[in-house]
């Protein structure tokens, strides 16, 4: 027998209470795992999209930090295209729209032709033909969601479009999106001549210089616009920030609620065992050891709950990813770091919840505790 045997057998003394507490901690940790992985996944899919497009710098209007920033004059792109380090500029207009019976989908209007299209792989059909309006292409997931094939007609707002082709993209958000040439998008959204993003690509090995030059130009002539590197855009996205904030808030709530749950359970078990703790002190256990025993019980409880929570969180995420709301829009980021974080949260709430009961237990006077019933 070791010291741990004593703590373990205490936890197993009231299995129902232990299991219920595990469930409480598990739900909290599952929420942390699910929300954090989705928030990170959200950020990751957008980062992937910019990387796949080969965009070095994204220009938007700073005045609005909404997920879909306000439109501005597409003519601005011409000015940046003239900067020597800049290889190409592509304007794009994006919006979220409900299409036919399907839930909200991302709809892009992209300068056509342009470098944005280069990374897409045509699976079926053809690209929209230059000069022909009311044609679009569907990402493979979008085609699946809408139940459309090449040649079908898709109604967007009051316009009818023909599906010219279906493509695959390395970026999940694009696979779940509808893409049309920019002029069509401007007409559908009633924003002629406007874009809400400019994507810039620099000449190879002039990337840094190009970024500096564009930033200098914005600073000098176009206050109110910002230039973000592809990696930053995802992080600055308000949606990503909200998701990240939500996941942090939930994690804290889970931590606090979990810590109270653990504290309650462990404190109850300390009260119930007053006489036993008196016995341990009487036969020579030091206060430190009694305290360690209670803390170990509390930490073991919360770590076990953490493991249950991780499993629960994984299952939740896998189910959520398949819902119509999220299918094709994001993929949870389930890195090992996340599980490490979840276990740290569990450990934290075990220590937080166990400290007070452990202190109470260690303060008992052995003589009095022995008289307790």
């Amino acid at each position: 027998m070791t010291f741990l045997t004593v703590a373990w057998k205490n936890l197993m003394r009231r299995p129902t209470r232990t299991i219920l507490t595990l469930g409480g901690i598990g739900v909290g940790i599952a929420a942390v795992v699910a929300l954090t992985s989705l928030a990170r996944g959200f950020e990751q899919v957008w980062r992937n999209a910019y990387e796949a497009r080969g965009t070095d710098l994204v220009i938007t209007k700073t005045t609005s930090r909404s997920p879909l920033p306000s439109p501005f004059d597409a003519g601005l792109g011409v000015e940046f295209a003239a900067i020597p380090e800049v290889e190409a500029v592509a304007g794009l207009m994006s919006d979220l729209m409900g299409i036919e019976e399907s839930p909200t989908m991302l709809v892009f209007g992209w300068d056509y032709p342009g470098f944005l299209w280069d990374h897409l792989k045509l699976r079926q059909g053809a690209w929209p033909r230059a000069g022909v309006s009311n044609q679009l292409v569907l990402g493979s997931l979008a085609a699946e969601t809408l139940g459309k094939k090449v040649g079908d007609v898709v109604q967007i707002e009051f316009d009818e479009f023909q599906v010219a082709g279906i493509f695959d993209s390395p970026a999940l958000v694009e696979n779940g999106a509808v893409i049309m040439p920019l002029p069509d998008m401007q007409r559908v959204t009633d924003r002629a001549g406007k874009v809400n993003f400019l994507n810039l690509r620099m000449h190879a090995n002039q990337r840094e210089a190009g970024i500096a030059a564009v930033r200098a130009r914005l600073q000098e002539r176009h206050r109110g616009y910002s230039a973000l590197e592809a990696g930053e855009v995802a992080g600055r996205n308000t949606g990503v920030e909200v998701a990240r904030g939500m996941s942090w808030a939930t994690s804290w709530i889970a931590l606090v609620v979990g810590a109270f749950g653990v504290a309650n359970t462990v404190l109850m078990s300390v009260f119930e065992r007053t006489r036993e703790i008196g016995i341990l002190l009487a036969i020579g256990w030091k206060r430190r050891r009694v305290m360690a025993m209670i803390l170990i019980e509390s930490v073991a409880l919360s770590l076990l709950g953490g493991v249950c929570g991780i499993v629960g969180g994984l299952v939740t995420v896998k189910i959520l990813e398949q819902t119509a709301m999220l299918h094709g829009k994001l993929e949870a980021d389930l890195g090992p770091g996340l599980f490490g974080m979840a276990l740290m949260v569990a450990l934290g709430l075990g220590v937080a919840g166990g400290l007070y009961p452990a202190w109470r237990a260690s303060r008992l006077q052995p003589g009095e505790a022995l008289r307790a019933e």
């Binding site: 004593v6 197993m12 036993e276 016995i279 341990l280 009487a282 036969i283 020579g284 030091k286 022995l370």
Partner: protein, 227 residues
């Protein structure tokens, strides 16, 4: 062990459990403390075992004052073995595990603790009951586990608080036999609090307490506890 002028007040002085008790217990001696309930016997035992601190007066063990001792838990673990009326075993642990609980405070390997636990239980005749929980043991068996536990760290002083109070005559006799045997074999000093005159007679030297005072010292002849 020397007890000098020990007073213990409870409830802000309204209850006087002990009023100036003086007592000497020589190394390896046996002593029975008798008296009616509420006379302060158990409080005195708690003073001897450093479970409680006197309001006034002093308890010395081997020349050292307990009140000046920083590591009272360590003192209890090494020098004192406790036996209680209601056994006070840990209900979630088996007999063998209960006996090992005090050893956790005194180091040793897992194997050595187990071996010592098995030896101790064998010496109280419980070889067949090592892996039983206290709830599966009879009262007499539980008290024998408690005796084995009290000997875990080879203490110099055994303190037994009404050790036979919850036992029938046969088992009571057996426990007293066991305690006296331990005393003879290891030279362990033994203080037994009891209200059973029969027990007091067997132990040998006895003091009678009343209202928190030692009122009479009896040398019951011949006393199996004498050396």
């Amino acid at each position: 062990m020397q007890v000098r002028g020990v007073t213990r007040l409870f409830d802000e002085g309204r209850v006087e459990a002990l009023r100036g008790v003086d007592l000497d217990i020589a190394e390896g001696e046996t002593l029975a403390v008798i008296g009616p309930s509420g006379c302060g016997k158990s409080t005195l035992l708690q003073m001897l075992g450093a479970l409680d601190q006197p309001t006034a007066g002093e308890v010395r063990f081997a020349g050292r004052s307990l009140s000046g001792m920083r590591d009272l838990a360590g003192f209890r673990a090494r020098e004192i073995g406790f036996i209680f009326q209601s056994f006070h075993l840990i209900p979630t642990l088996t007999a063998l595990e209960n006996v090992q609980v005090p050893m956790l405070e005194c180091g040793g390997t897992r194997a050595s603790r187990r071996k010592r636990g098995e030896e101790l239980l064998a010496s109280v005749g419980l070889t067949e009951r090592l892996n039983h929980l206290p709830s599966k043991l009879s009262g007499g068996e539980r008290q024998r586990v408690a005796v084995a536990r009290s000997l875990a760290n080879r203490p110099r002083l055994l303190l037994a608080d009404e050790p036979t109070g919850n036992l029938d005559t046969t088992n009571a006799t057996r426990i007293i036999d066991l305690l006296l045997e331990v005393h003879r074999e290891f030279g362990t000093a033994l203080v037994v609090v009891t209200h059973d005159p029969g027990v007091a007679v067997r132990v040998g030297r006895a003091v009678r307490m009343k209202d928190g005072r030692v009122i009479l010292e009896l040398e019951t002849a011949p006393g199996e506890g004498g050396r």
